[in-house]
């Protein structure tokens, strides 16, 4: 039986039942989501250059197999969703990461990078929405990664690989979904848990869940 009386006089915090807390973004949610987005954007930039080597190696093997290299561009949304756990987190973080990578200059042109970020974030967001923003387990993360990959893959096919054949299209989609599920999905989940263990996420549900109360 709690003996505490709350001093939060503001009606809005009392009116929000805990179940609806996934809608309201606190300032710390926005800033930390932005930090994750910026860090992810830098990783995107590194991968923008880094992927060229493996791509040149993989392409001649099988058309479309370069989809396996898409994972690193998809993890921002999944990681953002898992850590922040609010509606729109996946879209916001993936979009911001795309903004950072576009602004520092990349080869796909600012506007389309943003559009790709939006689409990929949406792919992950829809999965989190399907689970009502309540389930944040490993299988959900994997599905979110796959969702982001599928959305991004279709987007890429329309915009960049518009002139490609059916073999390419199928292999590309399959390989990008695998990459998304493993790299963007499972690895993001592991990463989120690792960050939570350091106590950096104590102001978030994801942090408090992972740490033992001290």
């Amino acid at each position: 039986m709690s003996t505490s009386t709350s001093t939060s006089a503001s009606a809005k915090t009392q009116a929000d039942a805990p179940a609806r807390s996934f809608l309201r973004w606190r300032i710390v949610d926005i800033v930390v989501a932005s930090v994750i987005g910026v860090a992810a954007g830098l990783i995107f930039l590194a991968w923008n250059v880094g992927y060229l080597g493996p791509k040149a190696l993989l392409e001649p093997l099988l058309p479309g197999i370069q989809g396996l290299l898409d994972g690193p561009w998809l993890f921002a949304g999944v990681l953002g969703g898992l850590i922040i756990r609010k509606a729109g987190a996946a879209i916001y973080v993936e979009l911001l990461a795309a903004v950072v990578s576009a602004l520092i200059g990349n080869q796909w042109g600012g506007f389309l990078t943003l559009e790709a970020g939006l689409v990929q974030g949406l792919g992950a967001e829809l999965i989190f929405l399907l689970f009502f923003y309540r389930r944040w387990s490993l299988p959900v993360a994997i599905l979110a990664g796959a969702g982001a990959a599928l959305a991004g893959g279709i987007n890429n096919l329309i915009l960049w690989y518009a002139g490609s054949g059916p073999a390419f299209t199928t292999i590309y989609l399959i390989s990008t979904v695998i990459s998304g599920a493993v790299i963007a999905g499972a690895l993001s989940w592991v990463l989120a848990r690792g960050i939570a263990a350091t106590g950096a996420l104590d102001r978030f549900g994801s942090g408090r869940e992972a740490r033992v109360r001290v």
Partner: protein, 263 residues
């Protein structure tokens, strides 16, 4: 984007509202995306180079900033050349690889398109100051201030990342683990950087809240973001570039709608 330095930019484009630059980037990209042909892309590219002369950046900086574009464009074209839709005379047919007249044409078009879309975006955004962009997004596009400014605050962390990264590297050398396992060390450092940044971000969020950020009530803007004649003119130039490019493609019959029948 002047994320890493706050050098004042000169040139006609420097003072234009960043939202207008964003708009121009979209105006050029969207119509060009709709078609995959060499005429529209090359016309656009030519007109863009004229625009670049007014951007106020030196040749050296232009190449330094845009080299990934120049590298990626031919590579993307190569993908299409090898695996694109086959039509016309087939030159090489080996396993899944198929180079044909059609695929080569599509490759050229793709390469030109990448250049035509990417180059102006890079050039335009070099001259953008992040705070001005945030002001523009909040005042002109009326995006929610909490998100725009929260993102801006997060964006500023980039500068700190670099210092932290150097310190992390040196620390690993001092702890005896810098001799082997580069990838593992890189991942460890990236993780540490992420943790440090998230902590700093949480502290920054508290500092922002302490300054009243996110409190109920209307927010004012200290710096006015104006959208006037210069901005509309830039947008008009952007529309003109893509308009002329599309017109040229249609006039020469080269228009090739990407969602339409292959051809």
């Amino acid at each position: 984007m002047t994320l890493l330095d706050t050098q004042a930019r000169t040139g006609a484009l420097a003072g234009v509202n960043p939202v207008a630059k964003l708009g121009v980037s979209a105006l050029i990209a969207v119509p060009l995306i709709l078609t995959l042909d060499p005429v529209s892309a090359s016309v656009a590219l030519g007109l863009e180079f004229v625009l670049f002369l007014f951007a106020g950046i030196g040749w050296r900086e232009f190449w330094v900033r845009t080299w990934p574009v120049w590298l990626a464009a031919p590579l993307t074209g190569l993908t299409i050349a090898l695996y694109g839709q086959t039509s016309g005379e087939v030159y090489v047919d080996w396993f899944v690889l198929r180079i044909s007249e059609g695929s080569l044409a599509l490759a050229l078009a793709t390469m030109l398109r990448v250049l035509a879309i990417a180059l102006p975006s890079v050039v335009l955004f070099i001259t953008v100051d992040p705070t001005d962009l945030a002001d523009g997004l909040g005042q002109i596009l009326r995006l929610p201030a909490r998100f725009v400014l929260g993102a801006l605050a997060g964006l500023r962390m980039v500068g700190l990342f670099l210092d932290d990264w150097r310190a992390l590297e040196l620390a690993r050398r001092a702890r005896g683990v810098a001799d082997r396992g580069r990838i593992r060390r890189f991942l460890g450092m990236a993780f540490a950087l992420l943790v440090l940044s998230i902590r700093r971000g949480a502290k920054l969020a508290t500092a922002m809240e302490a300054r009243g950020f996110g409190a109920p009530g209307r927010r004012t803007w200290a710096r006015e973001s104006r959208f006037g004649a210069a901005e509309w003119m830039l947008l008009a130039v952007g529309a003109a570039i893509s308009g002329i490019a599309i017109a040229a493609a249609v006039a020469t019959g080269a228009w090739n709608f990407i969602l339409g029948p292959a051809g």
